[in-house]
Point group: C2
């Protein structure tokens, strides 16, 4: 539902004019509330999402704070935030229940009175009517906003958000209020908050992010060492994130074009990291592989054992995957390997399921039976059980077939079951990328271990 | 590697005795550092993990704070933490590079001098020797700890952690320092930090968590309303988390046995939520299904279309899954549905891939071909494309077969691709649970929308 999508600031008698005394937003803090995060029940993904939105806008996020469901803690943290940053974004507490006090508490902290928005109220009443449910006075309070707010429409619920300017120790600050459920927060942040904030951003960074797979973070840092100090006016930073390393190149600029230094530095990074860079345009490895397959009009299939469908799921998560992805055989048991992939039972007896021969047999089986131009097979020991001295936990064979090439490579991943499965999926995707770009296929394991 | 696992507090001349003046730990704050989290590159999962550990110990986590890689911000936040809580846990900044300053900065903030631990130093040198790499003076600083520390062994790297008591405004407080990489932090928290902390916990909660699937959070709240106020001395709270609702029942108690009130209230919750409760023992839905299959010695297979392997991956993520899970056919394309599952091409032409007939044909195909006692099939429209008026995005057929039962149910999930896929996987798992427990199979979609 969409209760309100008015772009005008709300409130009685020209409170909207507060927005006229516009002040630039350079820094932000996120303040999230909820006992469920602090008691370990819920993983907070909202802050991460908003961090990306702010990063894209060029607003520096200086702190994320999570406090419990206590109005006192909330208000104290908000006031510290008002002191520190230009924009405070609060998450959660906009529901209709008694516990949902964020809107009123933070308006009060910011010194703003609250008004009831008639248009939003009508939207809420209409919504309940359309669902043939009773709208109780509890629900009315979801129409209350700080005076001067831009109301942010909620396309998936009745809790509208708000962006309100206010005066704090002689400066204009901004308070944004967003709902907690991720499927409400995300579209609100993207479609309603970000466009408003864009008008208040003065400085803008120019960023280029290089995504790297196949080298650990410390190795990437080492490789880039020679240029990090040479380009003093640029920021070069590396981050490890779920098996992938990101290299950030940033210059502070307001011009429409990148500087020559920026371009030269980017070129040096490309030269140093070469084909370990799989993306310069924010695509994940799965998305990059999808794009490569799509532009070449190729189809792919997978035979998965120890990854149990996670490789298929990674590609299947990309919108439009059906254009290239025909399907997979998840052959967790030997029986399925034999019957659905045509693996010779003798291979399983003599060499075992985790072997080059089995990996190649799975590969041929899936490529032929699912009739795709490219195929990948994975068989390994994800652990925690099942390892031996000869084949320890983390031993994974990955096979790839394309045109006349058919190859199986052996990897030794370390750490726990989830990590072995994740690295297997990423490595398989990277093998596809390398195969399609005619790059060497690599067998050494990337690692961040010291 | 394991650099040190000495349980004794370290440091020169009896600094260990600081631990003798033992003080109980009731509250904690987590302080994480890193520009990569604030710039949206990395999702912080460490805080969530530690929140669970603390919750299990009965230590109340009152705040999580993330600041950037600035020593000033780190120290300021730590000092605020020392004022507020008994235990401050810092994450990250224990590496060997110049930027890694957390250990020294926080020791200084706590007023503790730093010493170099000879045993840890030797461990680091041995490690580099075993890898035939050069140990530089940079690496030596990973042997520096606050005086009086219990050193926490790192089983997966050279960065040991520490738990150090110190005096702050006349009270004993505790500073814990943990490394940032999750595969280092998790075992350190579980195996080395938690056992130490247990000795400092005085109050202990008695908790019971009921995991619920098939009802939205607001519905669960509504259903529990009659008892929430009746048991004033107990805490009853509901949390929504990734499609599942958790109901927490807590009493503050020190006795070995739950009170009669607690038992009575738990029984009332069971009565009100009935078979929507799938777990009272911290098992995920996939783990519960695994357990049900295992105790009944049943095997399972899946035919997945729109979930593209995610259902298989969910079960395959459980250690030991191979005991019950034989495999899957991921039939993303019609061709694979026909050839690998034996779906009649006429069904696809006349009814389409997202239909009861196709769902049932996939079900029969996978059950027969993978030869399992129970089978599940999923075919639907995950979006964002592919929807029509008759079959909008979110339309998903899920089939289940066991013994003489063979059934396909139609669901309408809302929201985005990831959410449709996630709800499809959870619903399929819940259907297996219901089937095995002889409970009614449900077709109405759980939702949290207002």
């Amino acid at each position: 539902m969409q209760v309100n999508n008015s772009p005008a600031a709300g409130g009685p008698s020209g409170a909207a004019s507060a927005f006229a005394a516009k002040s630039y937003i350079e820094t932000a803090m996120i303040l999230a509330t909820g006992d469920e995060v602090l008691s370990g029940i819920t993983l907070d993904t909202n802050s991460h999402y908003l961090a990306q939105v702010l990063f894209g806008l060029g607003i520096k996020l200086v702190e994320v704070r999570q406090v419990g469901d206590s109005q006192k803690a909330l208000v104290a943290a908000a006031k510290e935030g008002f002191d520190k940053v230009d924009l405070l974004i609060s998450i959660g507490g906009l529901g209709p229940t008694e516990d949902d006090l964020t809107m009123v508490a933070l308006a009060d902290a910011a010194g703003l009175p609250v008004y009831r928005d008639e248009k939003v109220l009508q939207g809420i009443k209409d919504y309940f009517e359309s669902k043939q449910r009773t709208c109780t006075p509890n629900n009315y309070k979801q129409a209350d906003f700080p005076v001067g707010s831009h109301i942010l429409a909620n396309d998936h619920g009745t809790a509208c958000g708000a962006l309100a300017p206010f005066s704090w120790q002689g400066r204009t600050k901004y308070l944004a209020l967003l709902p907690g459920p991720p499927f409400e927060l995300r579209p609100m942040a993207d479609n309603h908050l970000a466009p408003l904030l864009r008008a208040y951003v003065h400085t803008s960074y120019r960023d280029q992010i290089f995504r790297v797979f196949g080298l650990g973070e410390s190795r990437v840092e080492y490789v880039l060492q020679p240029i990090i100090h040479r380009y003093g006016e640029l920021k070069i930073a590396t981050y490890a994130s779920g098996g992938v390393v990101l290299v950030l190149l940033r210059e502070l600029t307001l011009g429409p074009e990148p500087s020559e230094t920026f371009l030269a530095c980017a070129e040096e990074i490309r030269g140093l990291l070469g084909n370990f860079i799989f993306s310069e345009d924010d695509l994940s490895l799965a998305a990059r592989v999808f794009e490569l397959l799509k532009t070449r009009e190729l189809t792919i299939s997978f035979a998965e054992s120890c990854t149990a469908g996670l490789l298929s799921g990674a590609l299947g998560a990309i919108p439009g995957a059906s254009e290239v992805f025909k399907g997979s055989i998840v052959s967790y048991s030997n029986e399925v390997k034999i019957r659905q992939l045509g693996v010779d039972p003798e291979i399983l007896t003599k060499e075992g399921a985790v072997s080059e021969a089995c990996c190649l047999a799975m590969l041929r089986g899936v490529k032929e039976r699912l009739d795709t131009q490219i195929a990948v097979s994975i068989t390994g020991i994800a652990g925690p059980g099942g390892g031996s001295e000869e084949k320890p936990v983390g031993t994974v064979w990955i096979g790839i077939a394309y045109q006349e090439v058919e190859k199986a490579l052996c990897y030794r991943f370390s750490s726990d079951r989830a990590q072995v499965q994740r690295m297997s999926v990423l490595t398989a995707l990277d093998l596809v990328r390398r195969m399609l770009l005619d790059l060497p296929l690599r067998e050494d394991v990337p690692t961040d271990r010291q």
